[in-house]
């Protein structure tokens, strides 16, 4: 059976600092389950010399390149990708921003979700994907790394597999759409001008046409966020949307905001977040081990948080322990009367290092709970006021 053909479109507007990394990341996508062509859609970037540089870069790296003769705006540039995919007989089109890093196995995972009955679009999971974002305190610091993205994707895919989470609307930072759905639902509406909310409109149109709008929790794509839109002056530094375009959505779909609220309050997303973080932490512990810190406040001793750190309060009364890894945070249940047993139960192994930063009941009792000898790292005065 022939492999499905995917046209992976990366929409570009300036972005000299981050676009090459995204293209390189796309070009190293694993092609064992699909034939993938990468198309860079340069929306007439005005930065002097950038388009020429990008064209050469694409040619040498093996990506297709097209520069619009004049600026189209995001919706029409995205539509161009959708039309190109349908005209050139691709099975799927992927619409993606240019401030992203993809895991190598992304397409295999996305295809498994897209192949499920009735699925009209599949949005990848990410640190920055509107309300669905996997929370991280500083993604650009901790996650902007190809190896980290590959690892996170593998971890989440191991837990969630080909699960499809039905969501109120897709996000076109990285969305896969079967071309037959494009032919049925159509392309982006140019009334959204320079962009924002066009994919919400498209998603809701696809829902009306009877298709499912899904998120693939078994994927992870790093998304810096708002890169091109800031460049274009489409949104200001502190804004996250375009009010005029939201007004169109409110006019066309008066129930949409309530549907989003209902989705949020359903608890599906919160459960997915908790499961994802728990899975990432456990996998990281199995691979790298973990450090147990006893102190009032978690210490960021390694700036990139490459190690999993479990922070226990030294007083022995808290029934939660905070776990941190690469900007992710999760509280895990903890039994103060059985420190070693409860931590061991969660991670199924002992810590590699135990640091005692602050004195307290726990600090004194830990010696016997684990085989590892606690290392006392007291400072001149307590960290917590």
């Amino acid at each position: 059976m022939a492999k499905p053909r995917i046209l992976h479109c990366i929409t570009v507007y300036n972005g000299r600092d981050f676009v090459p990394a995204a293209i390189n990341s796309a070009l190293r996508l694993d092609r064992s389950d699909a034939d993938i062509d990468v198309l860079v859609l340069d929306d007439a970037s005005p930065e002097p010399g950038w388009s020429e540089e990008l064209a050469v870069f694409c040619r040498t790296q093996g990506a297709k390149y097209y520069r619009s003769p004049r600026n189209l705006g995001i919706p029409r540039n995205v539509s161009l990708g959708m039309l190109a995919a349908t005209r050139h007989s691709y099975d799927y089109v992927v619409i993606s921003n240019s401030d992203v890093l993809y895991p190598s196995k992304l397409m295999s995972a996305m295809l498994e979700v897209a192949a499920q009955p009735g699925v009209g679009s599949v949005t990848a999971w990410s640190n920055n994907v509107s309300i669905y974002s996997l929370p991280n305190i500083d993604p650009n610091k901790y996650l902007k790394n190809q190896e980290v993205v590959d690892w996170l994707h593998a971890s989440l895919n191991g837990f969630f597999g080909n699960a499809a989470m039905d969501i109120p609307a897709g996000i076109s930072f990285c969305i896969m759409i079967p071309t037959k759905v494009v032919q049925d639902v159509g392309i982006m509406d140019p009334c959204f001008g320079r962009g924002y909310c066009e994919e919400t409109d498209w998603s809701l149109r696809s829902l009306v046409a009877g298709y499912r709008v899904c998120l693939a929790p078994g994927t992870f794509v790093f998304h810096q966020g708002r890169g091109s839109n800031l460049e274009a002056g489409l949104v200001s530094m502190n804004a996250t949307t375009v009010p005029a375009n939201e007004a169109i959505i409110d006019l066309r779909y008066p129930q949409f905001r309530q549907q989003v609220d209902a989705f949020i309050y359903s608890g599906i997303l919160a459960r997915a977040h908790a499961d994802a973080l728990s899975c990432v932490m456990r996998d990281a512990v199995q691979q790298y081990g973990y450090i147990l810190d006893v102190g009032w406040i978690a210490r960021a001793l390694d700036r990139e948080e490459k190690n999993v750190r479990v922070c226990l309060s030294p007083d022995g009364y808290s029934n939660r322990a905070q776990v941190s890894f690469r900007g992710f945070r999760i509280d895990i249940p903890f039994d103060p009367s059985d420190a070693g047993g409860s931590i061991r139960k969660y991670f199924e192994r002992d810590p590699t290092i135990i640091n005692v930063f602050d004195r307290g009941l726990h600090a004194d009792s830990l010696g016997g709970a684990f085989a590892t000898e606690p290392k006392h790292v007291h400072v001149n005065y307590p960290v917590r006021i």
Binding site: L39, S51, E52, A55, C58, R59, K64, Y65, Y66, R67, S68, P69, L72, R76, S79, L80, L83, A84, R87, I187, P190, C191
Partner: protein, 104 residues
Amino acid sequence: MNTLDLDAVSLEQALLDFEVANARVVDLTARLTTLSKELLQAKTELATIKLKGGAPVATAAFRALNIGDAAELAQLRDLISQLRSSRVIRVAKLFSVKLRRILA
């Protein structure tokens, strides 16, 4: 420079977008004028209701605002007719030339 030529696709779609945009302008203009008329009418009705509700009953302002009310006018005419036909007025007219002139 381009390694994939999408000029034809882009141009074709631009022309389609242009057609849709024109149709939308016509449609929006029609809706705008209709809604403007409705808005003007609604504003007038609202102002009238506000004025009517704001003037105390039995004041000159209230009577002036309600003078155009045909039902009230008919009611007043009926009242005058009843007064004219009352026994007191008929007896009084027998003795007062002035009253006869007024009611003539």
